[in-house]
């Protein structure tokens, strides 16, 4: 082994040990085509968390470079901040509060608090994380709920939906174009 190789081996060993010392900080899984929607339903209030790789929503994962890309990032961020990501059949849900986190760059404006994180040393993958609090006046969880996500972002091939309501917990997997989940059916 040449000295340079030894150094490299040592270096990578150090990197590995440094990584395992904080095992609780394993990088999260990141799978294109796959996204997750978690719904916590309490009376007329829905708290939801939507996480997806940026690729599903934008078609790229690097920071927005061109003006077009920046515009796209803004458009998607605004949509995620303003559209209820789940809704009743009558469409009665309104967004009370929304936070959109992402690392794709672009200018932030509007009422959604898009955060422009800059992590140059992190991996090339980036994720969107949206939290919303919805108010749905005539919410009956035993009836079907719909989500516009699979229609708006056809890149999402399967959307894992998990829910909690007074009737218990459950999950379902929506394919492309499928929009309805029925917590009450379980």
């Amino acid at each position: 082994m040449t000295p340079s190789k030894v150094t490299r081996a040592l270096l990578s060993a150090t990197v590995l040990t440094a990584g395992s010392a904080f095992a609780s900080n394993n990088p999260g899984a990141h799978q294109h085509g796959h996204a997750e929607l978690q719904l916590a339903i309490d009376g007329n209030q829905v708290d939801l968390i939507f996480t997806s790789p940026a690729y599903n929503l934008l078609g790229f994962e690097h920071r927005a470079r061109s003006d077009e890309q920046k515009a796209l990032v803004n458009q998607v961020t605004n949509w995620l901040g303003q559209t209820p990501l789940t809704n009743t059949r009558e469409g009665s849900c309104t967004v009370m509060n929304a936070v959109v986190h992402h690392q794709a760059g672009g200018d932030d404006h509007g009422h959604n608090h898009g955060h422009d994180h800059d992590h140059p040393d992190e991996s090339s993958h980036s994720d969107f994380e949206v939290t919303q609090t919805l108010s749905c006046p005539d919410l009956k969880p035993s009836e079907a709920l719909s989500t516009p996500i699979t229609i708006r972002f056809p890149e999402i091939e399967n959307l894992n939906v998990e829910w909690i309501w007074s009737g218990g917990q459950g999950s379902d997997r929506l394919g492309q174009g499928e929009t309805r989940v029925r917590p009450g059916a379980q």
Partner: protein, 424 residues
């Protein structure tokens, strides 16, 4: 007038052939019972499976996949890869958003059944089925270090009573050579059957789990270093680690946030899973089983309907004389056709009512026995809309089927040559 006549004639005709019809009705009743029974079983098995655990908002264990964590904590299948520190459990306990925690410590067995070390919260907060609490058939929940509570299945299969002493084995497996012989446990209670894996386990205190491992090294008891029950009194047996914890949350809307926080816990790598979500994921994996049952239901429907057609067509063959007499006395072909339809629908309705009765009686009589002997939890419940649809499809199918003989009789009776006269 005509309708009334048809009804009187139909009843008279039915009464005339009551023996044959009783047999036909029995055949139909059996088909409908089978149809409903399989459909009922399909939904109940799913319900029984998905409610193996209820009321628990999160299960926290060492980092692993959600199915693995669910399988070893709830179903007692497979083993934990790692434990969680006692200090981590304490810090979870200090979180006032969590209403309660049930510590779970696994690793030992009793004649092939898992030993679960826990505390009184398991008895107080564990729920299964539709929010059902655990109940004791006999005795009381453990209090002392060397007390053990048996699941219903364990007590039944090994014929144990309250007050008996049992010796637990080190590690898993049905035949273990290293037993905790110095520290026998006394049975203080026997749980009522639940139809869940709870029945197939024995429950001891966390202190008991620690105490029986004092003086054990590398899976072997060091002679003279294990302790006797007398020596155990007054000693502190706080464990270093537990396998997992079941968590109840005050405001369930926070569940996903708390889950996220636990998954990102800085002290050690943890996984928090939603048992209901993991159960439905597991059920999706076993979806083949449900589809197989659905397929069987489909075949039963088809077979029953074909049987119905065959039986009704046979009936028609027997009625040639009756039809001829009716025609001779001036009954119109339409009246005769309506007789057929009335008869078939009435038969189908009677079969449905009988099948419902048999089903209800069967479920209510057999369910305690099924639960006690096979751990299957099947309870009486109102029919689902799908089951009602299936049930109403029987008279509808009978009506459709009756149209065939009705139409052919109508044609035949016209051919007998009285058609013109009757129509006038």
């Amino acid at each position: 007038m005509k309708a009334r006549l048809a009804l009187t004639l139909a009843l008279a005709s039915l009464w005339h052939r009551k023996k044959v019809l009783a047999l036909v009705c029995l055949t139909l009743t059996l088909s409908v019972s089978l149809l409903l029974g399989i459909q009922y079983l399909r939904t109940e098995v799913k319900q029984s499976f998905t409610s193996t655990i209820s009321g628990t908002d999160l299960i926290v264990g060492a980092r692993s996949g959600q199915l693995n964590l669910l399988l070893y904590t709830v179903f007692h299948i497979g083993d934990a890869t790692n434990n969680i520190r006692w200090s981590t459990y304490q810090s979870l306990k200090d979180d006032n958003r969590l209403a309660w925690l049930i510590p779970i410590s696994l690793g030992d067995s009793y004649r092939g059944n898992r030993v679960v070390a826990t505390d009184e919260n398991f008895f107080k907060h564990f729920r299964y089925g539709r929010d059902l609490p655990l109940e004791l058939d006999d005795g009381q929940w453990f209090e002392g270090v060397f007390d053990v509570v048996l699941g219903a299945g364990v007590a039944r299969s090994l014929a144990h009573q309250v007050g008996e002493q049992i010796v637990l084995s080190h590690g898993g497996g049905r035949t273990s050579f290293s037993n905790h012989e110095d520290t026998p446990f006394t049975v203080t209670g026997i749980l009522a059957p639940t139809g869940t894996p709870v029945d197939q386990a024995v429950y001891i205190s966390l202190d008991g789990m620690e105490a029986m491992h004092v003086g054990w090294e590398s899976g072997v008891a060091i002679p003279g270093r294990t302790i006797t029950p007398e020596q155990a009194k007054g000693r502190d047996f706080t464990p270093d680690a537990i396998t997992a914890a079941f968590v109840g949350i005050d405001r369930q809307i926070l569940t996903f946030r708390i889950q996220r926080e636990i998954n990102q816990f800085a002290g050690e790598p943890l996984s928090a899973i939603l048992p209901g979500v993991a159960l439905s994921e597991l059920w999706r994996l076993m979806g083949q089983f449900e589809r197989a049952l659905l397929g069987i239901t489909g075949f039963v429907v088809i077979t029953s309907l074909i049987g119905l057609v065959a039986v009704l067509l046979t009936l028609q063959a027997q009625r040639a004389h009756e039809i001829a007499v009716l025609r001779a006395t001036g009954a119109s072909p339409a009246l005769i056709a309506s007789l057929y339809i009335l008869e078939c629908v009435a038969l189908a309705l009677a079969a449905c009512v009988l099948a419902l009765g048999i089903g209800m009686a069967g479920v209510s009589l057999a369910s305690p026995w099924l639960l006690a002997n096979y751990g299957l939890q099947i309870s009486l419940r109102p029919l689902t809309p799908e089951e009602w649809a299936l049930l109403t499809s029987v008279p509808i199918a009978a009506f459709t089927v009756a149209l065939i003989p009705a139409f052919s009789t109508w044609r035949q009776s016209r051919r007998l040559g009285f058609g013109e006269a009757a129509d006038q």
